[in-house]
Amino acid sequence: MTTSARGSGDGQGGPLSSNAVASDDAGRVATRRERVAGILQRAGALVVLLAVIIVASLVFGGRFASVDNFLNILEASSFLGLVAVGMTFVIIGGGIDLSVGSLLALSAVLAAYGSQYGSVVAVALPLFVCGLIGLVNGLLIARARMAAFIATLATLLFARGLAFAVSDEGNTIFHIKAGLVVSALGQESLLGIRLPVVIAATVFLAGWLALTRSRYGTAVTAIGGSEDASRLMGLPIARVKVAMYLVSGLLAGLAGLLVAARSSSGQSTIGVGLELQAIAAVVIGGTLLTGGAGSIAGTLAGVLLLNVINNVINQVGTLSSYFQQVVSGIFLIVVVLVQRYLSREQRLVSEDQNRGQP
């Protein structure tokens, strides 16, 4: 809203641009600053991740840099990772999904509750309900044209309420009986790697393929880049958006299911603030918060980075765990500010391209 007041110096190019346009077919050559900014945007998270790992390894030695600890980090990352894959699609598509934390809790509760009736129910019930709520999100946003944040904020409240309702206001913690197949999802390993990690890796791979190699992924990217242009080019906007939120809901449900399987219980209080962590991971990974560009690989780096930092905070020990929340908040702000700066350097944001409010 304030961008309309942004003065001159925005859309005009550096010294190179006037010559470059004249060269007709070759088009405008990216300046070095733009290229650097682009690389930073795409690979910044990976660079920081490696740097943090190296520094932490030097400082903490074997306490940090051990196979066991790395496997722990991977496992801790897998739940956030699943949610973040869904969030990556939503944000690239120009939206936001604030309901994922509540959906994760609801799913965990439903999985544990459903496990009384067998593993099939324990798996199907949470996925069905979370998928349904994701679908409602999509319909409210794409069909009823409500602002994404308000619709998903309402389902955040609704899902949390449902989780409490099912668990007798949080007083009942359902447990998954030992020996059920569903427990295996959280506790067994494949080739020494925990199943949640395997599942998350599979989802990352599928998400990467879907985003980069499928028509759907291209449609999501196009809609986030310019919804008007996409409509004029004949893309089925509403359908693509509904699918986006449906998948986000399903993945949050899957994450909750795995959390329940891992801990053999479903608690209604988990996952508070998870939406912010997911958004932070996605944005750290180079996905534009304004939509239209981003990558699953970046999100992976972002998720790992957040978890490595959490791990380090735990290593320090003297820092209270609440610092994680402070760090997430500060991180998000810093990353968004850096991203705005980088976007401007690359001239991704032009004067007329500023995403409005609801």
Binding site: A5, G7, S8, D24, R213, T218, A219, G225, D228, L232
Partner: protein, 527 residues
Amino acid sequence: MTTTTGGLPVLCVRDVSKRFGGVLALDGVSLELRSGEVHALVGENGAGKSTLIKILTGVYQPDEGQIIYRDAAVTFARPRDAQAAGISTIYQEVNLVPLLSVARNLFLGHEPTNRLGLIDFAQMHRDAQLVLARYGIDVDVRRPLRQLGLGVQQMVAIARAVSADHRVVIMDEPTSSLEAREVERLLEVVDVLRRDGVAVVYVSHRLEEVFRLCDRVTVLRDGRRIHTGPLANITRLDLVSRMLGRKVSDVERARTRFNEHDTTRAAEPILRATGLTRRHVLDHVSVDTRPGEVVGLAGLLGSGRSETAKAIYGAQPLDEGTVEVNGTPLRGGSPRAAIAAGLALIPEDRKAEGIIPMLSVRDNIVLAALPALSRAGIVSERGQDAVVDRLMSRLKIKASGPDQRVGELSGGNQQKVLLARVLCLNPRVLVLDDPTRGIDVGAKAEIQALISDLAAQGMAVILISSELEEVVEGSDTIVVLRDGAVVGKLGGNDVSEDGVMRLIAVAARETDVPTPHQAERDDHGVR
């Protein structure tokens, strides 16, 4: 220029009308497109061009009349339907996704896939290269579209639009943001389309292009078709006069004719805008105004007249140029600073940039003058009501009262509210961008009379209008703009509709030929 008038009719629009709220945007318009012709569609603000295009492309549906496409009546419920039928559109602003690669933009929605359903990039890139080669474009199709020049982007849009089996291509001011060389290339491409038997609708306000490229022309004005015919049979001046039109309300005019002002009494300009420049938009435009003088900015739509107005007011980013009020340079990019220096603007787009529809008449009127009407941030109700009452009765604003929401008023009364807003400021320089656009005759006459009054009281006025008659009758001096540059300045007895139209219609290369009026050209005005 091609004189053939094409082949068989492909698309016929019959007596189409379209109404928005109380406004009739199209009034029984007909249009016939033949295969292999380039058909120009021209008209000024509010003529109905964009409404007609949006009906052809399925964005709007007509209220009355029908569309016959390939010998059958059709209705396009949405853009996809029109595209599927073979009608595609190239918009003024390139309507592709800048962040996606060239190839992805070309094939968005129908990418070639392999057996697994995944996009076959090798195939897609080969195909993209081939498609573009048809138009003589050789670029790396994997690069993001935004890295290419606008001309190439426009070409990609065309390639996308006609790569399938398209029979009709609509081009809505496709050259408005292109460099001269890029324009050349685009015109060649249009020629290719014509040879392929495609019917092209070409919307442009650049007369050179229209005359060079198009076979026939349809002129729209105020939602009605004024003229259709081969371009070979019409002169440039004739076309301009048909576009600008002459109002039939001569009776009204006689009563509201502006007074002649005595501009010699103040020799020093109060406002001096020098060398206003913005790439693709303004090219060293200079305008001066003296107290009591009305300076008209004339030119067709897209000539840079509105941009000049906004640049003076600090609301248009500039690459170069200065604005001085009373010899003091104005800080650029700040309407607040402009207001403080005694400038006031009524913007062209009343709804988007002028009124605040949900607020009351009172709040809209005093918005800009609040600092003067308040002490310690608290608004003086009495002072405010006095100002509002005075202006509402002076401007004869018809509202149920000062509490009525501005969004509920008629266009004419909304415009009067905006006038009241700027008058509260007691400005020294008033910039009016098309102040009587789309409002009823009565309100129009009142506003014209008011402008005249204000100038007589010593206010300097810059006046823009989409009606040439209004500028000519209301102005003491007229600065004529074309393609973002000043092409001439008329003063005193030279101010005439004929003189302005001649300057607008003159072809680019003819501007060097001296005419009597051009002797007065501002040194900074022409490069």
